[in-house]
Structure formats: structure tokens, C-alpha cells
């Protein structure tokens, strides 16, 4: 494997991690949206993500673009193979986007509750399906010799992938609740802390279940960890970070709990990467047909061009994104410009 191929394996991991951390709290906020009852609380939730959700979502587009450019067969196989699941994700993301904008344009309760439902569904469905996709990729996709998907939609809904999907949902729900707790005060912030605590218990439980199930049933993952025992530091970090989320939240230190939650997501993404490396799409039962960072990569020139592009653009993106987060830092205030 060339250095460029390894680098791109890591960069795509980083992009997906950025997406999971940043849009993760938007999706999580969507999960809790219907748990609030008053219009004011709901506007506050939307106000908390209002200026940033669109930018956060772009990390998904960056990651999918980068997979397309750096590992075209992976993009082709995964996107066509998971067709129905991805269409459901897309329908969800469409409804989430327009619901955030459309909701505030009309004050009638029926109008608002319709878009509230759209926002919640548009957040929960992708949040769940992302995890299902991750679970399926750890497990391996049924591929044919040409590297095309050879399974069915129902086959993707296997128990292992579904449990990973629930883990993802619990992770996003915890993360989103903590974000709300950071961005609001008073009664709503107190409720958000309780949400986070409830979701966290399930998050921790599912983390243990999925870890055990992975070690018990996924021999190829065990093999990766046996080959490089230093990787065990990742699950340890993940466990510590997940536990700390609940501890810090209980102590009332929601900012630190949120940071811990972000670190937990990063560690879990690292676990995933370590579980499949150097495969990008392991082939179920036929390891030799797997799509790897070696056999599925673009040409050296394309990988180099993309590296230059990322090196030029990413620092810029990070600088002005940070500026916007600072500009809209602090607690949400509802004014005439907010939803």
C-alpha cells in the first residue's frame, strides 16, 4: 500500500468523524424535538442549530465526494448496493433541511407541527441508518467477483447491523441533548440534561453489547486487533470517554460532557476504522473480493491532486467555520431573525 492510499484512508475517516461530531448534534437535536411541547422550546432548539446545521451537513458531502474521487469503486459499490437505504437517508435529509427553514414562516399550529414531525423524522431516520450502514460494513457486504453488491435490502437489516444502528442513534441522541444543554438555560437546559442522562444509559449499554458482539462474531475484526495489539487503546479510550459523558453530565458540567461526547464519537469512529483497515468494504465470506485502500484507489495523480486540494481548502474552511461558531456562541436568544 502506498503512503498516499493510507493517507486517504485516514482523511476519509477524519471527514466522516467531523460529520458524525458536527452534524451528529443536529441529528440529535432532531431526535429530541418532539419531546418538547411548547412552540418557544422548539424554536429554541432550531435556533441552537440554525446558523450551523447546513455547514455541518457539508462534511457528509465532502466525505462522499472524497470517497468518489479517491476510491471510486467504493463509492460505486456502496451507493448502488445500499440504494434503498440511501434513498431513505436522502428523503430524511431533504425534509430536515426544508422543515428547519419553512416552519417559522407561518404561525399556525398545524403548519408548525407538520414541519416539526418532518424535522424529527428527517433527523431520526438518517441517524439510525448511518449506524446500520456502519454495522454492515464491519460485518462485510455480500459482493460478487466484480466488486458489485450481491445482497438484498432485507439482508442489510441483519441483527448485528440493527444493533449498531441503535448504538448510533443513542450516541447522536446523547450528543444532541448535551448540545441543547450547552446552548440553552433554565428549564429547557435542565430537561436536556435529563434527556442526555437517559440516552447515555442506553448508549453505554449498547456500546458494551456491540463491542462484545463484534469480538464474538466478527473474526476479521479480532484478527486486526491481534495483529496490532496497540489498537486496544482505542476501545479503552472510547469506553472512558463514553463513561465520562454520564459522569460529567451528572456533575452538571455540560460543556465538558459535550466535549467528552465528541471525543467518544471520534474514538468510536477510530474503532470502526481499525476494525476494517485496510479494507474499505470487506466482502462477506470472500475476503479476497474485498475493496481495499490498495485495489480500489484512484491513480497517484488524482490522490496527489486531492491532497493539495484538501491542504489548501481545509484550513480555510476550519478558520471561517470557527469564526461563525464564535459569532453564534453563547446561549440561544430568540429574536426576529430566528426561526
Amino acid at each position: 500500500m502506498t503512503a498516499l492510499q493510507t493517507t486517504w484512508f485516514f482523511i476519509i475517516g477524519l471527514l466522516l468523524t467531523a460529520y458524525a461530531i458536527l452534524d451528529g448534534f443536529d441529528l440529535g437535536v432532531g431526535f429530541w424535538h418532539l419531546f418538547t411541547k411548547t412552540d418557544r422550546d422548539r424554536r429554541t432548539l432550531l435556533g441552537a442549530i440554525g446558523p450551523v446545521w447546513d455547514g455541518n451537513e457539508l462534511w457528509l458531502l465532502t466525505a462522499s465526494g472524497a470517497i468518489f474521487a479517491a476510491f471510486p469503486p467504493v463509492y460505486a459499490t456502496v451507493f448502488s448496493g445500499l440504494y434503498l437505504a440511501l434513498m431513505l437517508v436522502l428523503f430524511g435529509l431533504i425534509f430536515r433541511a426544508v422543515a428547519i427553514e419553512f416552519r417559522g414562516h407561518d404561525p399556525s399550529p398545524r403548519w408548525r407541527s407538520a414541519w416539526d414531525a418532518a424535522f424529527a423524522m428527517g433527523s431520526v431516520v438518517p441517524a439510525l441508518l448511518f449506524g446500520v450502514a456502519v454495522g454492515n460494513i464491519v460485518r462485510g457486504l455480500p459482493l460478487d467477483e466484480a466488486g458489485d453488491f450481491a445482497g438484498s435490502f432485507i439482508g442489510l437489516l441483519n441483527p448485528y447491523a440493527l444493533v449498531v444502528g441503535l448504538l448510533g442513534l443513542a450516541m447522536f441522541a446523547t450528543h444532541g441533548a448535551l448540545y441543547v444543554a450547552v446552548k440553552t438555560d433554565g428549564r429547557l437546559a435542565a430537561r436536556a440534561r435529563r434527556w442526555a442522562q437517559n440516552a447515555w444509559i442506553i448508549y453505554l449499554l449498547l456500546f458494551v453489547v456491540v463491542s462484545a458482539a463484534t469480538l464474538a462474531t466478527q473474526a476479521q475484526v479480532r484478527a486486526n486487533y491481534e495483529a496490532a495489539p496497540a489498537l486496544w487503546v482505542l476501545p479503552v479510550c472510547a469506553l472512558v470517554a463514553v463513561v465520562m459523558v454520564g459522569v460529567l453530565n451528572r456533575r452538571g458540567d455540560v460543556r465538558k460532557a459535550f466535549v467528552s461526547s465528541a471525543l467518544a464519537i471520534a474514538a468510536l469512529m477510530g474503532l470502526w476504522g481499525a476494525a476494517i483497515f485496510p479494507n474499505l468494504v470487506p466482502a462477506l465470506d470472500r475476503p479476497e473480493w474485498s475493496l481495499t485502500a490498495m485495489n480500489a484507489s484512484s491513480s497517484e495523480l488524482t490522490l496527489k491532486t486531492m491532497l493539495v486540494l484538501a491542504a489548501v481548502a481545509m484550513p480555510l474552511v476550519i478558520v471561517y467555520t470557527t469564526w461563525v461558531y464564535r459569532t453564534f456562541g453563547g446561549k440561544v436568544e430568540l429574536g426576529e431573525d430566528e426561526y
Binding site: P73, T302, F328
Partner: protein, 448 residues
């Protein structure tokens, strides 16, 4: 229906719907920059009122563009996996560049533009409006790079059964990138201008917010005239490139069957593909040779020079192009008439003109869609010109039933979004801009 047809219909529906929104917002973004610049320079409240209103309509349209845009980024993989395998080495780069260099800029600064009225300085706010417009324009550039590479591929070689990059610069600046980018941007500014023109005309017809409406109308009218005129020049530049690089597309656009010197341009005609002739044609002799090659005697290749199974669908290409040109001429006439009325000081209460301007809002968007139909249908049967056929590019593993399902869902969802979008636009119009007098003390100090 087979999976190729279904996937083609789905792509046409999703891109056709998506394009409505960037085509309005790219132009509108630049008009907003102009208004924000006036506000920054003069501090006059009327510009703040204008900016706030147009930004609101901008955000409403932008979000539908964002929502329908994500679909496009995924669809190459979901429906066109063989295409993705073949071109990924080249095609993925401009798509990623679009996100990294344009979408982030656009989305991040739009947050500031919409929510930043009380949080950032006037100068930072103005800068945000500029970054939104720049981002929108850069995004158009990269997506047109990607699409132009499908029209006139360059900077690649075919190895291991796929196209691999040999020169990034040659792939980016392939022969059709620059003419198509300029023609597209000219079109979007026309769309933005007609959007502002028609809505301002509505306020004048109702006699509401007159000062706001007059200034918006004048701005939109002048910009609209300049870009409608420029479109003929830019369109010509693009047509010359098509003539040089895609002769069968040119032949389909003009309904030329026989290779000939002094080739005519057609003002009207009914293509008859089976009889290989144009019916009821009104020809301007020599005009096509002159326009496309700058020489009356230049030879224009006819369709019969090409195998019939490689002809683009004739009627759609021909009609789309001619209707687009007719609409373009109408835009020049309408805006020129408006500027004449402005000069005669008869514009603002000319009810007929204002009503026609209002009804003309969708026409530049339709002209743009027709232009894209000409460009994309005129490239068929190729998905990458002379390299890969559309029929060989589809995802083989996706069952037709699943594509039919997603197609129906897209039609329903997009139909709903379109209706809601129009309804909300009308609502915001009825609400109107805030009146210039209603400033809170803090806002006054901010603009001072």
C-alpha cells in the same frame, strides 16, 4: 420500463428541479451584494430594508436548492455506478472541490447573512453577502467543470478500463468549461434579475412599499438588460465551441442532415427523424456557417455523416434550443422596453409592463432548463462524449422496482416542496418588507 430509462428519468427530474433554485439564488446573491454595498457606503435605511427582504426570499429558495442538491451528489453512485467506476478518477475531484471551495463558504456565510444582523458589524455583514455570492459562483464553476468534462473530455487516458487523470489543468479547463461557465452565470444573473424585477413590479401594482419596490425594480431592470444582451454574446461563444468540438450536437440543434457549405440557420422547423428531413423549415441561408465558423462558405457536418444510432434525440434537442433562443430575444426586448420607460419616467406606473414583468419571473429559469436539455440531450447517446454510452453507465445491481419507487417519491416530495415554496414566497410578498421607519435604537446606532 428498464432501469436505464428509469434512472435517466430520475436524473432529469431531480436535476431539473434542483436547477430552479441555484439559477435564481446565484443571480440574486450578486444583486444582494450590490444592495449591501450601497448600504455599507451610504448607511441609508432603505438599503437595509431591501437587503433584509431579498435575503429572506434568498434563504427560502436556497434551502430547497441545498435539500435537492444533496441528492445530486449521491446519485452518481446510487444510479450510475458503472459511470462512477469509469470516471471517478477524474470526476470526483471537481465534486469535492465544489464542496470544499464553494459550499462551505456559501453555507457558513449565509448563516451570518441571515442571523447576523445584530451580531456582526455592517462591514462583516457586507463581507458575508460577498462570500455567499462568491461561493455560489465558485460552486457553479466546479459543477460545470465536471459536466463539461462529460461533454469534451480532456487531460485523461483510458487504462485498466477506466479514465485516469493525466493533467488536472487540462481536465479542468477542457474545451467547453469556460464558454459553458460564462453562459450559465449570465443565465443565472438574468434569472435573479427577473425574480427581483417581477416581485418588485407586484409591489408597485399593489401600490405598497413603493420606495423599496422602485429601487429594487430599477436595479433588477438594468442588470437584466445587461445580462440578457450579454447572453447572446456568451451563447454565441458557447455555440462556436460546440461547432468545433461536438459536430453532431450542432447538427441536431440546427436540424442539419446533409453535410454542406453555406449551411442555413433555422428560424422554424419540424424535425422528421425517420424521413431525415426538416418540415416547414424557415431557413436563413448561410447563417449557420457564418455564425458557427465565421465564414459563409464553411462546411457544416450533417447528421448523415454519423451512424444513426449515435444521433442525439433530434426533436428535443432542436426544440429546446430554439425555444431558449426565442426566450432570450424576449428578455432583451422586455428589459429594453423597461429601460426606455424608465428613461421616459413612465415605468413605475405602467401597469401593463409591470404585469408582464410579474408573469415573466419563471421564463429565464425555463430558458435555462431548455439550455440544459439542449446540452445534455444533445450529448446522447453518450454519457461521456465518445467514451462511454449512457446505457453502459447505469447501476446494474439496483432492481428497476427500487428506482421506480425512488422516482415516485422524488416526484411527490419535489411536487410538495415546489407548492410550499411558491406559497411561502407569496406569503412573504404579502407580508412585504418591514417599513424603513421601524428601527430599534440599537439598529440605528449600528447603521450610523
Amino acid at each position: 420500463m428498464d432501469v436505464v430509462t428509469l434512472s435517466r428519468v430520475q436524473f432529469a427530474v431531480t436535476i431539473g428541479f434542483h436547477w430552479i433554485f441555484p439559477s435564481i439564488t446565484i443571480g440574486l446573491a450578486w444583486l444582494i451584494v450590490w444592495i449591501m454595498t450601497r448600504y455599507l457606503r451610504s448607511g441609508e435605511r432603505i438599503y437595509r430594508v431591501m437587503a433584509r427582504f431579498w435575503i429572506k426570499l434568498f434563504a427560502l429558495s436556497f434551502v430547497v436548492g441545498v435539500a435537492s442538491g444533496i441528492v445530486m451528489e449521491f446519485q452518481f453512485g446510487t444510479n450510475w455506478s458503472e459511470y462512477s467506476r469509469f470516471v471517478g478518477d477524474i470526476f470526483g475531484v471537481p465534486l469535492t472541490a465544489e464542496v470544499l471551495l464553494a459550499f462551505f463558504l456559501e453555507s457558513t456565510f449565509l448563516g451570518v447573512l441571515v442571523f447576523g444582523w445584530r451580531r456582526v458589524s455592517v462591514r462583516a455583514h457586507w463581507f458575508s453577502s460577498l462570500m455567499v455570492a462568491v461561493g455560489a459562483t465558485i460552486s457553479a464553476f466546479w459543477i460545470i467543470v465536471a459536466n463539461s468534462w462529460m461533454q469534451t473530455p480532456a487531460g485523461y487516458h483510458v487504462v485498466n478500463g477506466r479514465a485516469e487523470l493525466t493533467s488536472f489543468a487540462a481536465a479542468v479547463f477542457n474545451p467547453s468549461t469556460v464558454p459553458r461557465f460564462l453562459h450559465t452565470i449570465g443565465g443565472t444573473i438574468t434569472c435573479g434579475a427577473f425574480f427581483m424585477l417581477g416581485i418588485s413590479a407586484w409591489f408597485l401594482l399593489k401600490g405598497r412599499h413603493v420606495e423599496f419596490a422602485r429601487r429594487s425594480l430599477t436595479l433588477a431592470l438594468i442588470v437584466g438588460l445587461i445580462t440578457s444582451l450579454a447572453q447572446f454574446g456568451l451563447g454565441h461563444y458557447h455555440a462556436v465551441q460546440v461547432a468545433a468540438t461536438q459536430p453532431e450536437k450542432l447538427a441536431a440543434i440546427e436540424g442539419i442532415f446533409e453535410t454542406q457549405r453555406r449551411a442555413p440557420a433555422l428560424l422554424f422547423g419540424i424535425p422528421d427523424e425517420d424521413a431525415e428531413t426538416m418540415r416547414a423549415a424557415i431557413r436563413v441561408p448561410g447563417a449557420l456557417s457564418l455564425l458557427a465558423f465565421g465564414d459563409l462558405e464553411a462546411e457544416v457536418q450533417g447528421l448523415k455523416d454519423f451512424p444513426k444510432d449515435e444521433w442525439p434525440p433530434l426533436a428535443l434537442t432542436f426544440y429546446s434550443f430554439h425555444l431558449m433562443v426565442a426566450l432570450g430575444a424576449y428578455f432583451v426586448l422586455l428589459t429594453a422596453l423597461g429601460v426606455y420607460l424608465l428613461w421616459r419616467r413612465a415605468l413605475y406606473d405602467h401597469a401593463l409592463f409591470l404585469r408582464v414583468a410579474l408573469l415573466s419571473i419563471p421564463l429565464p429559469v425555463i430558458a435555462g432548463e431548455l439550455g440544459w436539455i439542449t446540452a445534455e440531450v444533445g450529448r446522447q447517446p453518450w454519457i461521456v462524449y465518445h467514451l462511454l454510452k449512457t446505457s453502459d453507465a447505469v447501476s446494474v445491481v439496483v432492481p428497476p422496482g427500487q428506482v421506480l419507487f425512488s422516482l415516485i417519491m422524488f416526484c411527490l416530495i419535489y411536487g410538495l416542496l415546489f407548492v410550499v415554496w411558491i406559497w411561502l414566497l407569496r406569503r412573504e410578498m404579502r407580508k412585504g418588507p418591514e417599513s424603513p421607519g421601524s428601527a430599534s435604537p440599537r439598529e440605528v446606532s449600528e447603521s450610523a
